[in-house]
Subunit: 424 residues, 4 copies
């Protein structure tokens, strides 16, 4: 009867709860507890929104303090101390050391809103309407962002045809095709039928597409291509930014400087709704209020965001991600991949994919997930036909919990593979 | 130098801060304090997001408690105790007593996201693409909702033409035209050129349009029209719901039952980002995850939302709004309107408009606002050419503060009118 | 078996042949003969394309002569003698006497192509995307023009939503509404949601909409409105131009000068495909070949077009149209309208409508048409639910044939009304 | 002064006349004469509309006869003897021998209208909105067809963004990419972002794209792909049908059967406007009149069309095209290509391209054209940057005239190449 309220009154659109069939009450770090006291290890991580772990004490203290002293909570886009503290800290400790001179736009507190803002600004700056987006991409569910998002299930929800976007093959899709040369041909061939875009939007690691890490060289060539043709390069770092790949911005490894960067999910530090759009100052031709929204000034999130950045610095968090990435990689390569020669392993830092697409029928990955959940682990799927199991722990996960989680994945995979082969 | 950080690093898109040129630090009830200790009275109210006042103690206590006990904060759309508590309370104390059997969809935590969800579902249910929206309406800034929003400044931000919406004249625009008969003609005349819509979206009181209260009879005829032609009636109660007009839902006064209702702003109780979409159960044909988003499960907001509803019940808050509405109306009609025969007063409950459109040149209202701010009051403009001063205090404002605020408006108006006439 | 070839091999999209169920072989003036020798009187007139009658001898002679001497027939948009002759004659005898300084664009030889050209140019000149079109309008069936066309059956054929057009209520639809003031409000109200258009497109007499003649005063106010706001006024004179209303251009009666005029149908003189777009010289910012098409240089049509204009001049044709208009009007008002008090008569010149919409159920007009056909007359329907019988004879019809035709209409109406009342 | 009338009164959109700066008066076979008596050889061929030569006597006789006996000229879509004769002959002598059971739709008499009809029907039949079109394609200039057309100059004329089409790389653009596999991936990958199309539209020989002949094997694989996924295959045979490539339908060489075929240009036989759409009977779900137009029944063109087919049969015309193709090919390969190693020769039958793209700067091809015109030849350019000279003589051209024309091309090329190298 625990789910009756939800099943009766909440819309059928709900999804994660169908996989994680418990009522959760409390959480800490990489653990959650449901109302019956059962403990879970979290390799799902709020789809990337909980990089600092659940209810991180360092942040929590600041939030309670801010609430207790009646710090202003709702601030629209007014000037507030909490916002100023965040901006200053973000500029001084994150942007300047990376030689990035971005201005900050506080968009509505969701990733999709940051992307919508970026599209509006890119079209406004260039006077062009078309946008290049990568096949395999996910950028959000409101109508502007949804036109970029590639999965058919989401797109069909639109109810109207989606326009003004040209989808570019991701390099892993057609290895024989030089996708940068392809884009160059599209915009220099006066008979391509494809309009020169205002911007190219991409994730440096496609997450929902199935955990595909784009090559450094490819990223650099893309950046050079965009610069050459005055196409704005917009990096959607909503899921793989904030240290997830081992550097704060996911594009640092390629040494490129996008024209715009969208951040959300873990930027709010504590799982609180927040999103920002960064862009080069010369692009800042917005008129006052031209894009707005009621919750752009979620002060509690600003307090948490600053605290999270401080915490990361003090714990040298982002650098440690690389080490954890090695642990995960080694485990997956050495312990999981050998279970079936058709398993593919992809990822970096604290975002990985175990691709069962060639292992068994569609649904195999889901069976592994279900087995993981039986073993008290939250973990998600991604990619084509949801065939990719996606271990994505908090950046803060202790090594023993990380290994424990990986073991659950291994055992669950073994069990499902045994069933699979038994059926044959 | 207080604003230097903002002016250097924050995007030019910022707007309210240009009117309210202070750095705010703390807030309580209907008051805010800036970093220099100056106190302000709040007739702006977070654009309607702070109906229970700033940092309401009843709610605050619950939030701190929830944080302290490590209640799960980020919950995607998983089942949680906090969400169940909210759903149950909302169903039992808000919907059932009003004989409303809505299901609840937790959309991304912004009003525009709730509207996008409603549009998707309406198109999905009906198989139609067109939407009717009212001239004067504001429904949000992401591309789906923006197509409905009417102000040109916002629309131009789109960067591409906006489609699939037919704008219907609001009844106050052409009093000689029966707008319901007009809509009926559009969809029954086989040569109108206007496709039958999936839905009609409206605010029962147009807020951003300039505080226009739609007649009960008109609302009833609209509801009957929609029912007759199987067009879904979607009420956007984001700004004027949650008791703002004297009943929890703004449409209660008309005795109608919309097919969908969008709530945001004050539904989060404490100014925390939250939005929900309510709809009749038979419309709930969503597939799992067909519309999603990372912050649909902002548990802290659910805790605040439930607490706010309890608080409202215990303090008989919504009923008191009617009384405050009378106070405001009497003051504006008797003290402000007589200052100039061309002033128009409109509104109800705790949302009012003082229309200076016929009083002086465009910009007159802004001068009154500036004068109010000099007298330590936050207040906004709305409507055509921003000609309408918009007193919108918290529902919880004590009577003495309310009167004090109204006096500031009166004095500010007097001063500006004196300048205006002196110039002539 | 006469129709077997058609019914077996021609698409189901065919329509007129379903009403006029004969195989036609020859034609002359206002008469046609089918393969069985049966003679018909033509009040259908090729939907307005045969204003000079079938196979007009004056024109025919020129065509045969041109063919015999191997005059160039297909000329793309090359310079030819036939084209020069047409241009010169059209400028000297049609435009200059009317003080119209239009340039001529030879578009693809169909009305819809002329409209598509006008829309492209209007958008190019103004940089705006929206177009105002009147409810009740018909402007063509290709996708650009179809977005303006209002009848639902045609619009549904599009297969995709139609965009970038705002439909304006025709003045007869809501007599209480000042439609010019309405348009002015739409573009001056910064919260209308309706973008200022590049152009307003209209027929001065709505033909397919049901034969509605727009008032001179209304047309003048519309022209002034367009001029004031720099909106291009485009008159679609495809059906009601070329003398149909008693002047060569239908807008002459209002003394206005549209920015663009589309002509087709009878401009080709002999029923040959031809279309032109006229526009003020300062609008001529086309780049070479920016709109093109293979049959823009249908030289045979140019020869016929010039001959037709000469013929009209020699026979004082257009002035005589007014006289015929009086004859038709008197007959319809005095002989047909009295048959049923609910019959409505509308029209001018040689285009009239007998509206059965209030006389009997949908389909009544069709019965009258069928009865007319039984009595050897071709005539069409128009308007809402096809309720309007549309007598539209050639401008050249002799008075006796005109009266004979009108008698057929009267008798057919009488018969159907008798059946109708007998059924009650 | 010869051009003054045109330059003063005709729109700047005119294009061919800027290359062929003469006023043409008469024409016969492959020759034209201007008003000064100068004779030209025609390798332009009305952009493919004059495959039977100018003013072909066999056809001419029928036209004059039809005119003289007052055969009905304008017939809307009524049943007429001329139409029936055409249908019967076309079915019996063209379709049945090829085992093609198409129904015929008489669309508006332009190629673009036939394409618009095809798009509407494809969307209607499948319920899908997207269309696949090939990069390099040209399909027309009205808004529906223009969305498919690829050259940027044409597309920019639209004035609004063009939608609902996905452009597929032509196989010659990225030889390393298997374009059929590419399309298959787009519609089977649930994360491609590209909606399954209603239809794939293609020319089997891209004409305006630069004379690219698609491989038989590729065409067969495309046809199989379309069949497998129930995507309608629409062949645009407007320019390269009617025997241009050596068979009546250009796709015969591949042994495929498209679902729809668009014909225009030379189908009218004598350069008269005509267009038809052929489709499989099971697709014929049109409602009566759902796509219409005033000039669908251009009877004179039907008379010419039938006569042209008879003429072709009697003269064994289409088979002779292959022989002429060999002559042209040999000449171009042996006499023209050796003039510069960077010249590329492409084509088949009576449509060829001499690609100067790699020979010299953009504009080189135009210089060759100008030189040809000085030598009394009409010839056009095509392709990227207009770099391809396009010899496209009438199918009926006598061998001596053909060789004479080819010599002009050779000499003109030599002269321009000499200038080019002299300049360096």
């Amino acid at each position: 009867m625990a789910f009756e309220v939800f099943e009766t009154y909440e819309s059928e659109v709900r999804s994660y709860c169908r996989k994680f069939t418990s009522v959760f009450q409390t959480a800490k770090g990489s653990k959650l507890w449901d109302e019956e006291g059962r403990e879970y290890i979290d390799f799902f991580n709020g789809a990337g929104a909980l990089s600092y772990g659940h209810n991180n004490d360092y942040i929590k203290e600041r939030l309670i303090d801010y609430l207790q002293k009646d710090g202003i909570i709702h601030g629209m886009d007014m000037y507030t101390g909490a916002k100023r503290d965040f901006i200053e800290y973000f500029q001084e400790s994150m942007l300047k050391p990376r030689d990035l001179n971005y201005k900050i736009m506080f968009t509505g507190p969701t990733g999709t809103n940051a992307i919508e803002s970026a599209l509006k600004l890119a079209r406004k700056v260039t006077g062009r309407t078309n946008i290049f987006a990568m096949m395999g991409a996910f950028h959000g569910m409101t109508m502007g962002a949804l036109a970029l998002t590639t999965d058919m299930s989401s797109r069909k929800g639109a109810g109207v045809p989606l326009h003004d976007v040209t989808h570019i093959p991701a390099p892993y899709m057609f290895p024989e095709l030089d996708t940068v040369a392809y884009m160059e041909r599209l915009i220099t061939d006066d008979h391509s039928g494809v309009e020169k875009p205002a911007a190219l939007v991409l994730e440096t690691v496609q997450a929902e597409g199935g955990i595909y890490v784009f090559d450094i060289e490819w990223l650099q060539r893309v950046a050079a291509f965009c610069k050459k043709y005055e196409i704005l390069l917009i990096v959607d770092d909503i899921q793989v930014g904030c240290g997830r790949t081992g550097t704060f911005f996911s594009f640092e490894r390629a040494g490129i400087k996008p024209d715009m960067v969208a951040l959300s999910k873990s930027i709010g530090g504590y799982g609180l709704p927040m999103a920002i759009l960064l862009f080069s100052p010369e692009l800042d031709i917005w008129k006052p209020g031209e894009h707005n929204g009621t919750f752009r000034g979620n002060q509690l999130a600003f307090v948490a965001a600053k605290a999270a950045l401080e915490f990361a610095k003090e714990t040298n968090l982002y650098d440690n991600v690389k080490k954890k990435g090695e642990i995960i990689k080694n485990f997956l390569e050495n312990e999981v991949k050998p279970l079936d020669e058709n398993i593919e392993i992809r990822g970096m830092g604290c975002i990985w994919g175990i691709d069962f697409g060639k292992v068994g029928p569609v649904g195999t990955s889901r069976k592994v997930l279900d087995e993981c959940f039986k073993n008290n682990m939250l973990i998600e799927l991604a990619g084509r036909d949801d065939c990719v199991l996606k271990p994505m722990p908090a950046l803060t996960i202790p090594e023993d919990e990380l290994l424990k989680g990986l073991e659950i994945i291994k055992k669950s995979t073994q069990k499902v593979l045994a069933q699979l082969h038994g059926q044959e």
